[in-house]
């Protein structure tokens, strides 16, 4: 047993740190730290910098233009990026679609779409969830009918994150209603500029517009945009969900949030001293910090086991639950550290925001926005059911 990084891993970490130090704009980092929505240009700019470095797709094999990193390297990159408040790599093309195309796509699809993802030619979004389906993903009803050399798509997707910036969407659509509900699903790539596609933003309770509804009204999609085989989409979807779950613990994000919380607790005054010295508040911080210390190692243990070739099981579900619990507790403590001072939202800033608005008010906005963590990507209830299912088998 050895808790230390290898010399190679340490050298890699230093390289990542040097890159972040040199290439990450402090103003951009500040926006990330305060959970302010980034513009499309800011996200694209960061992707371009990473791509120039060959680091945009850490999870892709080198033959597809990826960095081909080990799980530990990806972990180091993600943790360092989060701690430096670098923008998160938008996951839809890189982390989700890429692996699916690499595994199940045709040679033509790979040659066409993968370079465009790296170059930023396309902005992808995800068409999985539907209104009324909730956690029952396979119950989807958006349908695609084959008509000659194209499919005609009708229906609706929802919770489409950053769909307002996207020109392409990968969708799960129903191509058959026979058999089990999982068996009639196909995986389609749809150009969002096609007539009949409508995007409507959903405003969230923190005032941001990061998710959308996407409507399809007789949208024609060429058959060559079908990935893999018709009615086999559920297999690809599950594969994608597995890949979505790297970095599911969010150790880096939690570490950054903990540092921010400590900074706030140091600055806030309580009984004439820093709040950080209040025994009760200090104990609350300590409890979540201690939980994070353990989860960070749980995460590394699981990455290490995966690197040794052990089959992944319920680990990602465990990390999802614990990781989101920790982040939500950190968000709650930061909000509580500001107390009565954090009773407005950044969205109100355009009409006479209070002093220090962006620092203080990000606390409540972040708390509100991050309630999503335990809902999306398979709610924590779904994750518990997955774990329990494995436990039931013994």
């Amino acid at each position: 047993m050895d808790m230390r990084f290898t010399p190679d891993e340490l050298a890699f970490r230093d390289k990542v740190r040097a890159f972040l130090q040199a290439d990450l704009d402090p103003d951009l980092a500040r926006k990330v730290r305060l959970h302010q929505p980034l513009t499309k240009a800011e996200m694209e700019g960061w992707h371009a910098k990473l791509n120039a470095q060959g680091w945009l797709a850490g999870n892709w094999p080198t033959k597809f233009g990826g960095a081909g990193w080990t799980a530990i390297q990806r972990h180091i990159f993600e943790e360092e990026s989060a701690r430096a408040h670098a923008p998160r790599v938008v996951p839809f093309g890189i982390a989700m679609l890429g692996p699916v195309l690499q595994k199940f796509g045709s040679k033509e699809q790979q040659d066409h779409w993968l370079p465009r993802i790296l170059n930023g030619d396309d902005w992808w979004c995800q068409g999985y969830s539907e209104p009324g389906a909730g956690s029952d993903l396979a119950g989807l009803r958006c349908r695609a009918e084959r008509q000659g050399d194209h499919y005609v798509v009708n229906g609706q997707k929802t919770w489409t994150t950053l769909g307002q910036h996207a020109n392409m969407i990968f969708c799960l659509v129903r191509t058959s209603t026979e058999g089990k509900k999982q068996e009639g699903i196909s995986f389609l790539l749809i150009d969002m500029t096609t007539p009949g596609v409508t995007v409507r933003p959903i405003i969230l309770l923190d005032g941001t517009a990061e998710v959308n509804e996407v409507f399809f009204d007789d949208v024609k999609v060429p058959v060559e945009n079908l990935v893999g085989e018709e009615n086999q989409g559920w297999t690809y979807a599950k594969y994608l969900l597995t890949h979505e779950r790297t970095n599911i613990a969010g150790v880096g994000f939690a570490t950054a949030a903990l540092e921010n919380l400590k900074r706030v607790a140091q600055a806030q005054v309580h009984r004439g001293r820093p709040l950080a010295q209040d025994p009760l508040f200090a104990a609350e911080i300590a409890l979540v910090e201690i939980d994070l210390m353990a989860m960070s190692t749980t995460n590394l243990r699981m990455l290490s086991a995966a690197a040794q070739g052990q089959a992944p099981g319920i680990e990602s579900s465990m990390l999802k639950i614990k990781g989101t619990q920790i982040r939500q507790r950190l968000d709650a403590l930061t909000r509580r550290a500001y107390g009565g001072w954090a009773m407005a939202l950044p969205a109100s800033g355009n009409e006479g925001e209070p002093e220090e608005a962006d620092e203080v008010l990000s606390a409540t906005a972040t708390w509100l926005n991050n309630r999503k963590l335990s809902i999306y990507g398979g709610s924590n209830e779904i994750q518990r059911s997955i774990i329990a299912g494995a436990l039931a088998k013994g």
Binding site: A133, G134, V269, L280, G340, W341, R371
Partner: protein, 332 residues
């Protein structure tokens, strides 16, 4: 021992529900004033006709349930404090209560100080300040009356998370009238706490009702959500905690005019219980709803923000827990 509403209070509740059903927006405040609701918040001595804990709890619970965003709490505290100090506000006036400060959770006197009869410093997140005809300001140990147009006073308004308009105040040697020491206004300030707690209780009830309704009607995997035992048991736990919050409000209402430390202990216990239940309900209501609970257009969003605001008003659960545990008074 009797926990039933009196006949008078039942009539008040009925009339209030009627007003809240019929009026909204800008029309609501005049309707409430016309129906004499502000008077029910003040004692006869203060120029009202009730001011009992039961009346305050009843009125603000209804406000919370209906999602009303009006500076009624500040007006009640401010008007009562002014009346107690022999300077009653005019009928129907809006009084702002400037309590929160930047740079601290809920401590007083961190960002503001008094020198003689002038105040210098900052107050923040003050509901109704822009429309107020008088502002009651707290410092470390006293209550002060400041006129909106006073020298050295500037104001910047913005929306608060509870749906009201708020403002930051900047005071630069602003003339102020010292109404008295904080502890002298213990009963008045405690009524303010009760108002916020009852407001929270109404919001808690509304959010839990909405959630239960959703669990009953929304289906997943072909079954109503309530038929999933893990969710059903969490719903049951919520129901238990709602009763605890209600009891905590009853306790403060019932001990509002008792001597300290009994009143203070019930006040702190009330804020701790209601604040913690409010947080729990905010989190669980969103989670049990799933994605829809995150959206602005669904009624829960505004309730969740009001729950956070109600916990925070005049000291949150953390702040009052510490004081309760240390055996400290509420107002000192």
């Amino acid at each position: 021992m009797d926990f039933q509403l009196s006949d008078d209070h039942r009539m008040l509740q009925d009339s209030l529900r009627g007003i809240l059903t019929r009026h909204s927006g800008d029309a609501l405040w005049p309707a409430l004033v016309e129906a004499g609701v502000p008077a029910a918040l003040l004692t006869e001595d203060e120029g009202g006709f009730d001011g009992s804990g039961a009346a305050i709890a009843l009125i603000f619970e209804e406000m919370g349930r209906a999602g009303v965003a009006l500076p009624l709490t500040g007006t009640m505290i401010g008007a009562a404090a002014m009346a107690q100090a022999g300077r009653p506000a005019e009928d129907g006036a809006i009084v702002a209560f400037a309590d929160a400060e930047p740079g601290t959770r809920y401590d007083r006197g961190v960002a503001i100080r008094a020198e003689g009869d002038r105040l210098t410093g900052r107050k923040t997140m003050i509901a109704g300040a822009e429309d107020a005809t008088a502002i009651v300001v707290t410092t470390a140990d006293a209550l002060w009356l400041v006129q909106p147009g006073a020298e050295g006073l500037s104001m910047r308004g913005y929306p608060l998370i509870d749906g009201q308009r708020g403002a930051d105040l900047e005071l630069d040697a602003t003339p102020a009238l010292r109404l008295g020491g904080l502890a002298d206004f213990g009963v008045v300030l405690s009524r303010g706490v009760l108002a916020h707690a009852a407001l929270a209780l109404g919001t808690i009830t509304a959010a839990v009702d909405l959630t239960m309704d959703y669990l009953r009607t929304r289906k997943q995997f072909g079954q109503p959500l309530m038929s999933f035992q893990a969710l059903a048991h969490r719903a049951a736990d919520l129901a238990v905690e709602v009763e605890q919050a209600r009891s905590a409000v009853v306790n403060l209402a019932g001990h509002l005019t008792d001597d300290t430390p009994l009143r203070d202990r019930h006040l702190q216990a009330c804020k701790v219980t209601v604040g913690r239940v409010a947080r729990l309900v905010a989190e669980e209501a969103i989670q049990l709803h799933g994605g829809i609970g995150m959206t602005e257009e669904y009624a829960l969003a505004a309730m969740v923000r009001r729950l956070l605001a109600a916990d925070a008003a005049m000291g949150d659960a953390d702040w009052h827990l510490e004081r309760f545990a240390l055996g400290e008074p509420a107002w000192a």
